[in-house]
């Protein structure tokens, strides 16, 4: 790294420490959050006439259903309704990308947990007792459990024309240049297999909510979800009613991370509500959530990467298999994002062929999860770079520096990219991390090591998916500036960042702003996913606020008789010469309800001039430096420090930024060290959080988050979303650190302490 380079980086580098966070933390929303006082969907047990629903789930991973008899259950105490496949008035299928998942299985179950029937009863206990009384006869079928062999086995969706005959759901290849020629010119080639786990989201609030019938054939859903508007479409089709008849309010949701993007309890709750004419709540317990909930796609990949003697990357070949489980959910989109990240977007590579296959198996269902396939790819890509650096005998950072793209360069898919900082500056800041100066030590028992990895991430839904969203601003009758978006607040505290943006734009106080989220009757902002909300909020506010403020100012001039030119927005109302002339309340009272309203929507920015829209236009970067300790006696790994250098545009709300990066990183640490929902013959091997082990506070490392913002002044979308960035490079940084400590490279996650110990022991013997 040149010193100018470092200077350039350091000029705009700041650390988000406790002070910057404390000073920026508003008291507004924190207490109810910490005390569990927010009104969650699953708290609504006070609704008059509420019934409790429960879902009967398959006990077989793959079987034909030969009989379902609900007659006994119907006569159980407290039971009001029992429904199954033939009770679905509309489409007995759902799925965001492909509607291949039955609400209730009719002829076949495809995973252990597939829904077969549902019950509504006076109490949850009665509902569960009735489930036990439903008789189901199965005729077991061979279980497709190994994703790599799935295509050779009989298709589990053979009845579907669109993928009849094969368990291959999607195959996709991205290509650039002549891979064979490039490979033939490589001086060093690394070829390795990598495996990443089936991770579970482990949100605090398990899937749940209530469906409330309106007595006129419609249903209001109050549920934990991520995309109320999209859910309305699917639910109306299932219930067999017009879309106007269905509304979704995603109130505060107790965590989602992608796991509530797909429909969860809504179809069964909605059908039961229509059938009984009473509100029905379904709330999965942790066992059911583990068994039936969506997971992260496990990926098995072979990567062949080569460079010339000067370290220039020439060739990169990828063959990946993603296990989507029994149904597609968002799998095709995850595959697409995986492949994009597998092209190594930060680096110039002469030729690549990156292909992936998404296959059906009977191993549960996988779908959206923070990182969305990208972090699985980055783990393998960054590990490959370390292998090449070792092959060449140079520092891993040097190899990266040789190959990093520069601002102005196109992206790996030849798309235009809006960079937030030169990638070399991000690398330079990571190389300057104080964690390196502590050195790799050996105190006899604990071996310490430091490693680093980089990652890139694009905001937005990705290639070819319709991606737009809108918002609304108005003056409420109570005189508050009411801002509405369709997004859900599931802990990321988007309310706070919207409030901040409005206060900054308008010049008012936090108390003047009211944020309303998550109603499908409000503006459609698109899903709360893909790190897209912050970008859209900023874009919509940038377009809406000036217009709305002009209109309000004009109205204020008419009401107050003051010249419009001298009127300014301020805390509590409109000011002229530093004196308040009208409060917002007086303003609201002087107009018809809904009179001062402005709407705006925009398409999510994608790379212009590409033949097909390429999503990775708004690029973010991260470099994570990890420091670990490895126990020589047991092979156990402790992550003691993580230092992230992030380049994701300006920070709007420091606590939110820090929370997202640190939280995502700990999630990445879990996937690296302990988390894996393994399946044996289609049966998950863990069923609760005493078996599926996420990091505890004692496992969480010390973290430092630096922000490097060199976003060009003329960037029209300077504000980016950081919901997923923090997870991107954690796994390869930790495995690099483990290698620095022990000399052993781990390519299969989560790191198995037993395997690591055996490898360390073998090395000791060779010494």
């Amino acid at each position: 790294m040149t010193s100018e380079n470092l200077q350039g980086a350091v000029r705009k580098l700041m650390t988000l420490d406790g002070n910057s966070v404390r000073n920026a933390t508003s008291k507004m929303d924190l207490a109810p959050r910490i005390e569990g006082g927010l009104a969650y969907a699953t708290d609504q047990r006070h609704l008059p006439g509420l019934l409790h629903g429960a879902i009967l789930r398959s006990t077989c991973a793959h079987a034909l259903i030969t009989r379902v008899d609900t007659s006994r259950a119907l006569n159980m105490p407290g039971v009001h309704a029992v429904i199954k496949a033939d009770d679905v008035p509309g489409l007995n299928r759902f799925g965001i990308v492909i509607r291949d998942q039955p609400v209730f299985c009719d002829d076949r179950v495809r995973y252990e947990g597939d829904a077969i029937a549902a019950v509504a009863a006076d109490t949850p206990e009665q509902a569960r007792a009735a489930l036990d009384a439903i008789e189901v006869d199965y005729q077991p079928l061979p279980v497709v459990s190994d994703a790599s062999l799935a295509e050779q086995q009989t298709a589990i969706h053979s009845s579907h024309e669109e993928h009849g005959g094969s368990n291959l759901l999607v195959r996709e290849t991205l290509e650039c240049g002549d891979i064979d020629d490039a490979l033939s010119r490589c001086t060093v080639i690394a070829e390795h297999h990598y495996q990443t786990p089936r991770q579970m989201h482990v949100f605090m609030e398990t899937e749940g909510g209530v469906a409330i019938p309106d007595g006129k054939g419609g249903v209001l859903f109050r549920v934990g979800c991520q995309s109320g508007h999209r859910d309305v479409e699917q639910l109306a089709d299932i219930l067999g009613v017009a879309r106007e008849k269905v509304a979704v309010e995603s109130m505060a949701t107790g965590g989602a991370f992608g796991g509530k993007d797909e429909l969860t309890v809504q179809p069964a709750a909605g059908l039961l509500a229509l059938k009984t004419g009473r509100p029905v709540m379904i709330h999965l317990d942790r066992f059911e959530s583990c068994r039936a909930g969506i997971k992260r796609h496990p990926v098995s990949v072979k990567m062949t990467t080569g460079c010339d003697a000067a370290g220039r990357l020439l060739a990169h070949k990828v063959e990946a298999v993603l296990d989507t489980g029994a149904y597609a959910s968002l799998g095709p989109a995850v595959l697409e994002n995986y492949l994009d990240h597998a092209t190594a977007p930060l680096y110039r590579i002469e030729a690549y062929r990156v292909s992936g296959r998404l296959v059906y198996t009977n191993n549960g269902v996988c779908g959206a999860f923070r990182g969305f396939g990208g972090n699985q790819a980055t783990f393998a890509v960054e590990s490959q770079l370390d292998e090449l650096a070792r092959g060449l005998g140079i520092e891993p950072a040097t190899l990266r520096r040789i190959n990093l793209r520069s601002p102005g360069d196109a992206g790996s898919r030849n798309q235009t990219v809006r960079w937030t900082a030169p990638p070399a500056d991000v690398l330079a800041a990571a190389v300057a991390s104080p964690l390196w100066s502590r050195g790799d030590t050996d105190n006899g028992r604990w071996l310490t090591g430091t490693g680093m990895a980089m990652g890139a991430q694009g905001n937005g839904l990705g290639d070819g998916l319709p991606d737009s969203g809108g918002g609304r601003i108005s003056l409420s009758p109570a005189g508050r500036i009411c801002v509405e978006f369709g997004f859900t607040d599931y802990g990321q505290n988007i309310v706070e960042s919207i409030t901040r943006s409005v206060c900054n734009g308008v010049g008012c106080r936090e108390a003047d702003v009211e944020v309303v989220l998550g109603s499908s009757r409000g503006p459609d902002s698109g899903p709360t996913s893909a790190s897209r909300s912050t970008v859209l909020v900023h874009g919509v506010l940038a377009s809406i606020l000036p217009r709305w403020m002009d209109a309000v100012r004009g109205h204020a001039a008419r009401v107050s008789g003051q010249p419009e030119k001298g009127l300014e927005f301020g805390p509590g109302g409109i000011f002229s010469d530093g004196r308040q002339v009208l409060s917002y309340r007086e303003l609201a009272e002087s107009t018809n309800p809904g009179g001062m309203t402005a709407n705006a929507s925009q398409d999510f920015p994608v790379a212009p001039d590409s033949e097909h829209p390429v999503g990775r236009y708004l690029q973010l970067q991260i470099a994570t430096v990890a420091r670990v300790e490895v126990d020589r006696i047991t092979g156990r790994v402790r992550v003691t420090d993580l230092h992230h250098v992030t380049a994701a545009g300006p920070v709007i709300y420091p606590p939110g930024y820090l929370g997202q990066i640190e939280g995502a990183a700990v999630m990445g640490q879990g996937m690296t060290l302990t988390e894996d929902m393994t399946a044996h013959e289609g049966r998950y091997q863990a069923d609760n959080l005493d078996q599926y082990l996420i990091p505890t506070f004692h496992d969480a490392p010390l973290q430092r988050v630096d922000v490097l913002d060199n976003t060009p002044e003329d960037d029209p979308y300077p504000v980016r979303g950081v919901g997923e960035l923090g997870i991107e490079a954690v796994a390869p940084a930790i495995t690099a650190a483990i290698e620095a400590a022990t000399g052993v490279r781990v390519r299969r996650l989560p790191v198995d302490p037993g395997d690591l110990l055996v490898a360390m022991a073998a090395q000791e013997q060779n010494l």
């Binding site: 006696i633 047991t634 156990r636 004692h698 496992d699 198995d752 110990l757 055996v758």
Partner: protein, 258 residues
């Protein structure tokens, strides 16, 4: 069922084939997992004589089976007799479980305390329908029956003994036990025990070898430990390697400065 006396508890347990419940921290998740709740549970009462608390005896210490893990960790007598225990207990479950969970429940379930208790030659005091009987833990643990009611455990006077305890989990805290290893040196001989994924057990063959060959001649230790662990039911070779190294490290700690 709330029996009036320990003897009545034993007879209820036998007659109704119902389990005893102490803190319930092991029973509750087990029943939830299997979705099978016993029709009746026999509640144990900490007010029954000798069932709760820690007291000095002529031989050493007597610990009531219904003493909670928290009480055990905080008790001044434990700090005197077994100062090493506190570090281990911090790594047993979480605060909520330690607040309710009992010594008896932990031993019955083969929990983390069992390695230490085995290595210390602990004796168990059992209530029978006809009277009490006292047995070495090493004999009771392998074939304990559901109807056995544990009143208390007796520990030898371990003041001045060298004790090394180590738990291997999957994560720093609140982790299921992969392996817990206890090494005890009473001034004359070494006593070793394990518990965890392969089950609780005393390593008597290894102890004999150490007795015969001395603590500093550990050349064949690896082979002996490995085969003894396998015989006890520890089938994962990688975990055996870790346990072997934990034992070696424990022994080093015991013999340091001796």
């Amino acid at each position: 069922m709330h029996p009036e006396s320990p003897r009545q508890a034993v007879s209820f347990a036998k007659r109704f084939r119902s389990p005893y419940i102490a803190g319930g921290t092991w029973l509750q998740p087990s029943c939830e997992r299997d979705r099978q709740w016993p029709v009746q549970l026999v509640a144990l009462n900490p007010d029954w004589p000798e069932f709760r608390g820690i007291r000095e005896t002529e031989e050493g210490l007597s610990i009531g089976a219904l003493t909670t893990l928290d009480e055990l960790a905080r008790h001044p007598l434990m700090a005197l007799y077994l100062p090493q225990l506190n570090g281990l207990i911090k790594r047993v479950a979480g605060p909520g479980v330690r607040h309710l969970g009992t010594v008896g429940g932990n031993l019955f379930a083969g929990g983390d305390l069992s390695a230490l208790a085995l290595a210390l030659d602990t004796e168990v005091d059992l209530v029978g329908s006809k009277g009490s009987n006292r047995r070495p833990l090493t004999r009771w643990l392998p074939d304990r029956q559901g109807g056995d009611l544990l009143r208390s455990v007796s520990l030898p006077d371990s003041r001045g003994w060298r004790v090394s305890l180590e738990k291997l989990g999957y994560r720093e805290r609140f982790s299921p036990t992969r392996a817990t290893v206890a090494c005890v040196h009473d001034g004359e001989k070494v006593q070793l025990a394990v518990c965890g994924e392969g089950g609780p057990g005393r390593l008597t063959v290894t102890e004999a070898m150490l007795r015969d060959e001395g603590i500093r001649e550990l050349t064949d230790l690896a082979i002996v430990v490995d085969s003894e662990l396998e015989t006890l039911g520890w089938h994962d070779t990688r975990l055996r390697l870790a346990v072997r190294r934990m034992l070696e490290s424990g022994l080093m700690e015991l013999t340091r400065d001796v």
